[in-house]
Amino acid sequence: MVKTRSVSAIENGIVIDHIPAGQALKIMRLLHVVNSKQRVTLGLNLRSTSLKLKDLIKIENRLLAPHEMGYVAIFAPEATINRIENFKVSEKINCALPETIRDVLVCPNQNCINHIELKGYFKLEGSPSQVKLRCFYCEKQFERDQVEEICL
């Protein structure tokens, strides 16, 4: 049986694998690749033995800064980031959950000062499998799926 790739290989860049299905678009927006000139290959709802369904993102000629890996960890705690050089995996990086996240997510509480004056600032709580975000300002705690990214 011939095994084919669901998503084509890249020469250099990164592959973010094992993203829970449904989270890839949010991660792409947080990494600002949606409107960039970088070539991005996206796989949605791919088969996965561990997750049943997963998303996958390949970004050519791009590395992630530590804070960007933190964004991935919040929305895909089990994800692996593979660094690709000459079509081969040169490094596998497991994401670590950051302690805080600033300026990229907005507090869902409509009565929070966050909505009027500034960008979001959250403290990360809970475990990697059950990430919760507590707004630094209004002190309310949210599930990760309740929190949206700031529209730029």
Partner: protein, 305 residues
């Protein structure tokens, strides 16, 4: 004075340790017994009230003046540049140039925390939306300690608007520090937010929900009444007034003889005025005690600088 608070601001009860709470209560007690010297001579305290207030603003002003400090500020936004569209950050940066300490009340949650983040001067949260009102909760606790002595393990019923009442949100966190048993009585739509209940659970605090005060009135040591925060209600929630608990003397037949009734005031119709004359009512003592508690906080925050 032997202690100073090892923090710049008072924003949320969540930030305070039991030891810090005890330091504030003990110092307030000293101030009440023996009026302090003019700790705040040559200090300017800004009172920035973006929302209406009677007791909090006037008690902070009284506390400041009695300590020899001077007061600047505003009691509504009509006469400020907020009306011209100035944001909170610029307002606080500006006031920080004039004052040694800023007291802020604001309708949006998190506003005091934001002020503390951008100002190098101490900030006291005098109420931020439905979030926190730490100095009121400390006043409540001080009054209760004065009446009861030991706070550990008391049974307290919190009645009314537990969803939007910021004093309740601060007070339950203080009650948790003293391992109190909480009875939560409110219409279902105005119950204590889940996030606070989860925190109580996590801390091992015993609490239960009730729809009627009659279910628990014989078991409690303290009855903390609150008004419905109609200014924070959605239009659809106004019908909740129909289910409001109203405390009248006939409800006091089965109480413990040493029950204490507290209320952060202002009240709506939830406490009949006949209750004021009973030995149980402590709410005007709370008003009076607010001065020494706020004096204590001002001194403890400013004595470092």
């Amino acid at each position: 004075m032997s202690k100073v608070l090892n923090r710049k601001d008072i924003i949320s009860i969540r930030d305070l340790s039991l030891s810090e709470v005890n330091d504030i209560l003990n110092f307030a007690k000293k101030i009440k017994v023996s009026p302090p010297r003019k700790y705040l001579t040559e200090k300017i305290i800004a009172h920035c009230f973006f929302e209406p207030s009677t007791r909090t603003r006037l008690s902070f002003e009284t506390a400041t003046l009695r300590l020899g400090g001077q007061v600047i500020g505003f009691s509504n936004i009509e006469s400020t540049s907020v009306k011209k569209g100035e944001d909170l950050q610029d307002t606080i940066k500006t006031v920080s140039c004039y004052a040694d300490l800023i007291i802020i009340r604001h309708p949006l949650e998190g506003s005091a925390r934001l002020a503390a983040e951008i100002s190098d001067k101490p900030i006291i949260n005098a109420g931020d939306g439905a979030n926190q009102h730490p100095t009121q909760a400390l006043t409540d606790l001080f009054t209760l300690q004065e009446a009861r002595g030991d706070l550990e393990g008391l049974s307290i019923a919190l009645v009314g608007d537990l969803k939007y009442g910021r004093t309740v949100h601060s007070l339950v966190q203080l009650c948790a520090l003293f391992n109190m048993r909480l009875f939560l009585i409110s219409p279902a739509l105005l119950s204590l937010p889940k996030i606070i209940c989860d925190e109580l659970k996590h801390k091992g605090i015993r609490f239960s929900f009730h729809s009627s005060l009659d279910e628990v009135i014989s078991k409690i040591d303290v009855l903390y009444m609150t008004r419905l925060q109609q200014e924070r209600f959605a239009q659809s929630e106004h019908r909740l007034f129909e289910n409001q608990t109203i405390l009248t003397c006939d409800k006091l037949k089965k109480i413990k003889t040493n029950l204490n009734i507290l209320h952060p005031l202002p009240r709506g119709r939830e406490i009949d005025k006949a209750i004021d004359e009973t030995v149980y009512a402590l709410y005007f003592k709370q008003v009076s005690n607010a001065i020494c508690v706020r004096q204590a906080i001002l001194v403890l925050l400013l004595s470092k600088s």
